[in-house]
């Protein structure tokens, strides 16, 4: 298990976004997708990496079979699925990696380092730490609803969408307002309102592994750019 620095992560985001503009041959797309999957393995999430790799292979297979799909509606449906959705697959891969493995403290450190304004840093740091609370609250609310015999099954929830929304949102929002005031007190006590420079326990190291992966990414990007130009 090796950490990947936040700088490399942002290179990945840029790379994946650039990729969506161009149509590349299937083998190259597959190579790039495998490159994205490899990050999951590097940070130690081997099973996730394997699962995504499988998805990539299925899409690559589907795209290379594009010529043999029949000339009817299901054929076009499959073609659109593999070719169209396959186009945004790199974005999904990078998102899965970023979502699963980026630490909030690293992100906040980066934001402070590039001198992002306070009105951006505070909400962002609150935001990410609040997600687990939402999940926990939701589980609690659902349990309470079931206990009182309201919308016991998912089917009941779907049948009365208005009621479901009300029963879930009201406690959720109520708790959110309480958490907001608690969190404000805690953050102010720790000096978040202080205008001076902030310190962080987070150390961000750009290691040799980062350099290697960045170089590999740049090579693949170069290949992509070359092929795109060559085609046009």
């Amino acid at each position: 298990m090796r950490p990947i620095s936040i700088y490399t992560r942002f290179l990945l985001v840029i790379f994946a976004n650039a990729l969506i503009f161009v149509t590349l041959p299937t083998p190259l797309v597959l190579a790039i997708n495998i490159y994205f999957c490899s990050f999951q393995v590097i940070v130690g999430r081997v099973r996730k990496g394997q699962a995504w790799l499988l998805v990539c292979l299925v899409f690559a297979l589907g795209a290379s079979l594009a010529m043999v799909f029949p000339e009817n509606l299901p054929g076009h449906y499959l073609l659109f699925l593999f070719v169209g959705v396959g186009r945004v697959l790199p974005l999904v891969l990078v998102a899965a990696f970023m979502m699963g493995t980026t630490k909030v403290s690293e992100l906040v450190y980066l934001l402070r380092k590039i001198h992002a304004p306070q009105w951006l840093v505070i909400p962002v740091s609150v935001l990410f730490r609040f997600f687990p609370t939402v999940r926990h609250d939701y589980a609690q609310i659902r349990r309470a609803m079931k206990f009182r015999g309201i919308a016991v099954t998912t089917g009941d929830m779907v049948r009365h969408p208005m009621r479901t929304m009300e029963y879930i949102y009201v406690p959720l929002l109520n708790n959110a307002t309480n958490v907001a005031s608690d969190l404000t007190s805690a953050a102010l006590t720790r000096g978040i309102g202080d205008p001076g420079p902030k310190t962080s326990i987070q150390r961000i190291a750009f290691t040799g592994l980062d350099a290697l992966m960045c170089a590999l990414g740049l090579v693949l990007m170069g290949c992509g750019a070359y092929v795109a130009m060559f085609q046009a």
Binding site: A16, Y77, F80, G84, L120, I122, V134, M162, Y169
Partner: protein, 202 residues
């Protein structure tokens, strides 16, 4: 008009988180229900469904943080979120822009006719969510490229897409409008009924 304090920023952060969660739920519903029928095309309805489900969060937020800047921050952060976490990068622009616009509407009309202001600003913010629809355009691009490789003529391809592009655009706009208005109504109703006792901060 007072500046945002730390307390407001924390509040905005929490409501943005809730807004994001409801957006993710809306996204999931759309992809799950419509995605099986028409992959990719279902993203046309994402803004509408997001508008439908995230009303209460928005309505409570503008009540708790009635200051200029709050909605802009929501827009900017949602945009950044989409940018970093796997949506197309240009999604950032509509979200940030619509956030600012909604904020301007809310702060200029909020005093004189609060109901109109909150409905209108909510609808505007919801239109910021059209960013995730953009990848559809690239999906179409890839699809066309594969049709070309199959040896289809340009006329054939134009013929396939001519009726779709204009109509889908209109459908997307209308669906978003209806979804957002309905969501605003639901949100206003829930918040007015349950959160009136919590005094709005001045």
């Amino acid at each position: 008009m007072k500046a945002l304090k730390t307390k407001d920023l924390v509040n905005v952060g929490i409501f943005t988180a809730l807004y994001f969660v409801s957006m993710a739920v809306g996204n999931f519903i759309t992809v799950f229900l419509a995605g099986l029928v028409m992959p990719g095309l279902s993203s046309l309805f994402i803004p509408a469904v997001v508008g439908l489900v995230s009303g209460p969060v928005y309505m409570l937020m503008i009540r708790r943080v009635p200051r200029f800047g709050a909605i802009t921050i929501v827009g900017v952060i949602m945009g950044l979120f989409l940018l970093v976490f796997g949506h197309f990068a240009l999604s950032f622009i509509p979200y940030a822009f619509c956030g600012l616009l909604a904020d301007l509407v809310q702060s200029s009309l909020g005093e004189s006719c609060p109901n109109l202001a909150r409905y209108l600003s909510y609808v505007i913010l919801t239109f910021g969510c059209t960013g995730p629809v953009l990848p559809l355009w690239f999906m179409k691009d890839a699809y066309v490229a594969s049709l070309v490789r199959r040896g289809k003529s340009q006329e054939y391809i134009d013929g396939v897409f001519a009726p779709i592009t204009g109509a889908t655009f209109l459908v997307c706009i209308l669906a978003t409008l209806v979804g957002a208005l309905l969501g605003a109504w639901i949100g206003a109703r829930i918040v007015d009924r349950h959160f009136n006792r919590i005094p709005a901060k001045q």
